[in-house]
Symmetry: C4
Subunit: 258 residues, 4 copies
């Protein structure tokens, strides 16, 4: 993962899943409000979408886990190097573990929609679980690195922890659309912050990394983090406007069709 | 912002908005209790007041953002100084960012009262958002300064964080007048503490700043903070007494008029 | 306050108020359960008791504030010593501030029972307020002292903070007898811990203070704190047993009387 | 406790109690869902089981307390060694205190099922109490030890604290099966982590302890902790599948019998 691509991949994943969660929440909320006119709100459709989401998550997690193990120079499932008497590429195993817990969300998705006896909010619980584990691993990820490196990862831990807390709150307080949108925007923030970390530590244009011991850089990245968040909020807001505007059109088209 | 005026301006802003929030909460509460006799509690009036509050917030935020950029010697929207190879006045950009998030509250105000489909508690969420961002920025604002300077800013972060938590709690637990008054009093405390910081670091009478490495000063500012809070509580209490006493008079005058 | 008596006085205060809160909560709970047979549960009686509690609290707070100011060698309301150019006995002013906020609880008690328009849970809010302020002041109370001195005060801050959190939770979740008993037991713990601090720092038998830099003492005081808590829990339990047993007798006596 | 057995014993205890809590929660949940067909869900049975659990807890706590005191070389109820002028085996007293608080849960169990006037959620409160005390004691347990030793105990404190928070949440939000399963899985994690600590500090095969100042070991134990948690989640899931599958069979057998 020590490269720009290694940070861009999870970043893209979180950007996509954040956008998808955001759209899903808005769709559900708007459909509930406009019960009469909405053909999208059919339970069967959402049901199938959730299972699809679960399968996608499991697939992504498996790909990620396999990728971390079998990239050239990866650990190849070897945990301890007996020849050299030391652990074998623990950072790769860290990422492996995080992917595994995100896979568990997908499993919970699938199980919840197959067995109706399972409580539905299991998904939210597994989500907050995965996020807390991710925050815990990242918190113990940067022993002995440079100041700025630690700082950008601390901000990452902060946003993951907040997302986990919001997910846990959703588990307790159900069907609050604003909490779901807040979680979506924090997920978007996490995704774009992964990109930012990539730009700071491994600039893709080949230029050297930023000065890792400069206080001014910390000052800048502080507000940069806020701007990322502002952009995430704006994206969620525009998505809301777009979905609420497009649904009536969709309904009109549907009505003309049949 | 490195002057007495620079701290007095946001201080006045928070004092005014705290007083206004406090009065609004009490008015709403009293009007709900005395449903029969109250002419003030008309929904239309409150509706218009909320939109006005939103417009004022947006206006103030825009003024603040413009002011931070275009004061003489300000950054003039220049983020990076390529000549000197360093960031350009990041502290000004910090304040700029905070103003922006307070502007978002105003936008939420206006949107919520134009589009009835938006959930009403969005305002509370954006408020707690803006406060958390403010606390985050202030927390990373004082790298490498003197002990007392850091201490007074830490207390500022504390009060902002608490206000944000109370606002978030209001988002979850709606229509609790005591939570609203608690938030108002914490906002008043924030405002008066801005003034206190100004007095400590940039005494307006031109005398030198306080001894920034003296433990006794920390001990004093600890209780000074509590006294500010006590005064804020007393102001909220007197405001409550004043409003509840004046409403019956207002009703009597109204009744005699017509 | 730098003496055994100075710690024994607030300790006794918290022990008495803890016992009283505990008894009141149990009485209310039992009376609600045995509605028919209970003559104690008359609203008027509890009403008068609450006002009495408020007056007592105000009285105690005023006595404490006056005592802190006008004991021989006290600050006599002088905050700054202009002759020596330094603050005048700030530790005394710290205690003064804490007493003031406890006085505010009493004021809230009295106001709530005079003006029925005030929300009843204001008392709980002012209580948690006073406790948070107390925790904040104690947290900034021990700059530059010895390790063990700081440790015992940290434990004090811990228990005060927990009591404040429970009181705030009671403000949100009303009429939960177990939360009230938990708060009572934590208040008892606070009281007995004040005594323990007195015994550690100023042994009343005139022997020298404990070794303030010995790690073993910290290890012991850790479990000592737990034992104090266990004793507080046992006292609350015995009080519960005593009150529930004595009420039927009281009822029988009452019935025979008339 | 400074041996592998000393860590394996509490580990086994928490593994057993975690499995039992998990099974009980699932049984209750499934019985509530399949009200008609379920013979297990009789109130009397659960009633007796709860009392049995209480008696077992008290028995285990008494055994543990006696064991800590009267093992060869133990403190034999002597707290202070006057000859040597120092505290007598405080670590043993630490464990003694923890056992005592777990005994209190058992007492609450028994009391709640004997006296119906006691609120039922007292058990959850005492459970969270015992866990918070355990976390507090372990937090102050490792003064002056090596880095890795402190780290594994910090992770133990983390999991105990989380379990305590979940138990407290259960006290507030009743009858949420997922919270109960989460608590069970955290209890299983605590149990297996005790074993892990034993393996790290006192390898049972007689080999020397791990290198206590190696950062790589910390990196490994971070993910090892996550894997323990993953295994605990899988065990809870398999238990759920097993119980839900076996109940219909049990019902069929029962039906054929009579």
């Amino acid at each position: 993962m020590g490269s720009f691509i290694g940070h861009a991949l999870p970043g893209s994943f979180f950007l996509i899943i954040g956008l998808w969660w955001c759209t899903k929440s808005i769709l559900k909320y708007v459909c509930k409000k406009q019960k009469r006119t909405c053909y999208l709100g059919s339970k069967a459709l959402f049901h199938r979408l959730e299972i699809l989401e679960g399968i996608t998550l499991v697939g992504m997690a498996l790909t990620g886990m396999a990728g971390e193990q079998f990239i050239p120079g990866g650990p190849y499932l070897k945990l301890y190097d007996y020849k050299q008497g030391q652990w074998n590429q623990l950072l790769g195993w860290h990422h492996f573990t995080m992917y595994f817990f995100f896979g568990l969300i997908g499993v919970a998705h699938i199980l919840c929609f197959i067995f109706s006896s399972l409580p539905f909010c299991l998904i939210k619980l597994m989500l907050s679980n995965a996020l807390f584990v991710e925050a815990f691993v990242f918190y113990n990820h940067t022993h002995g690195r440079e100041m700025l490196d630690i700082f950008v990862h601390q901000l990452l831990v902060l946003v993951i922890l907040l997302t986990g807390l919001i997910a846990f709150l959703e588990f307790l307080v159900r069907n609050n659309v604003l909490l779901e949108l807040l979680r979506s925007s924090l997920t978007l923030l996490q995704g774009s912050w992964f990109f930012q970390i990539g730009f700071v530590l491994y600039p893709p244009d080949g230029s050297p990394a930023w000065d890792l011991v400069d206080h001014e850089n910390i000052m800048f990245l502080t507000i940069c983090f806020c701007w990322h968040y502002a952009v995430a909020l704006v994206i969620v807001g525009m998505n809301y406007a777009f979905v609420t505007c497009s649904i009536p059109w969709y309904v009109i088209i549907k009505t003309q069709w049949y």
